[in-house]
Symmetry: C2
Subunit: 149 residues, 2 copies
């Protein structure tokens, strides 16, 4: 559904929410291994995520790394999508028509209109914290992603 960048971003922030806090930071090495993402590419994505200090923070040097705080964890999954510039995947016209609207609907508009709010709700209504909790309960892993198509 989303780009690999966004998939990595979501996995990373969920892992951090579950395993980090301001007193326990996670290094790039551990993080990328834990979520099964390429190390250097993940570094680039983390740079993007730390642009929003309320989402992910980082410190350099020994004992440094990435971490989330209590504030971060209340943020929605959708806010991650926005930071990654991928909310358009959900909000834009399914046929890719820029001028598609209620007034000027594409043939799929009315159908998608019924589902879009549910998709938005799914991502806007879920906090990072909630996902991290599910991770704990269900003993789910975040690594071994699917192969490239």
């Amino acid at each position: 559904m989303f780009s690999k960048s966004t998939e990595y971003a979501l996995r990373a922030i969920i892992y951090l929410a579950q395993n980090s806090d301001p007193d326990h930071k996670i290094g790039l090495e551990e993080l990328s291994k834990a979520i099964g993402s390429p190390r250097s590419f993940t570094a680039k994505i983390m740079q993007k995520l730390t642009k929003d200090q309320n989402l992910v923070s980082s410190v350099t040097g020994p004992g440094g790394g990435f971490y989330t705080n209590q504030e971060s964890k209340t943020r929605s999954v959708f806010s991650v999508l926005e930071l990654m510039g991928e909310e358009t995947t959900i909000t834009q016209c399914v046929l890719g028509l820029d001028q598609c609207s209620d007034q000027n609907p594409c043939p799929l508009h009315s159908t998608y209109k019924q589902i879009k709010p549910r998709l938005l709700e799914m991502f806007q209504g879920k906090s990072i914290q909630q996902l991290a909790k599910e991770l704990k309960n269900e003993k789910t892993v975040l690594n071994r992603p699917r192969k490239a198509s």
Copy 2:
């Protein structure tokens, strides 16, 4: 939501369903102008679509072009996604985890599980013909796509 290739494919087949039949074929020139897609790239996509003769047919030479028949029009939107290899956009794990399943769920699994059937239903339950009809009723256009992000 989908790749440009798939957006073009959907727009093309909807246009053909609305404007073509075995006795009135549409040339690449008219088609690509009508749906606002790059001509040569659209040619490539049409080659893919005509691999499934029950979806789109074509003939070369004067008076030739692309067309759909009655059978084509009963096909679902989802069948176009499948032909384009994009059903995975809907069916795959939101976090990109290959091993995500009911037994081994990712943190978003249970949430997405509620919406996935509705998305599938949206695309599996709509026929090409139905979309073409909406196009007629609502006087919607299929061109002027959004700019590249």
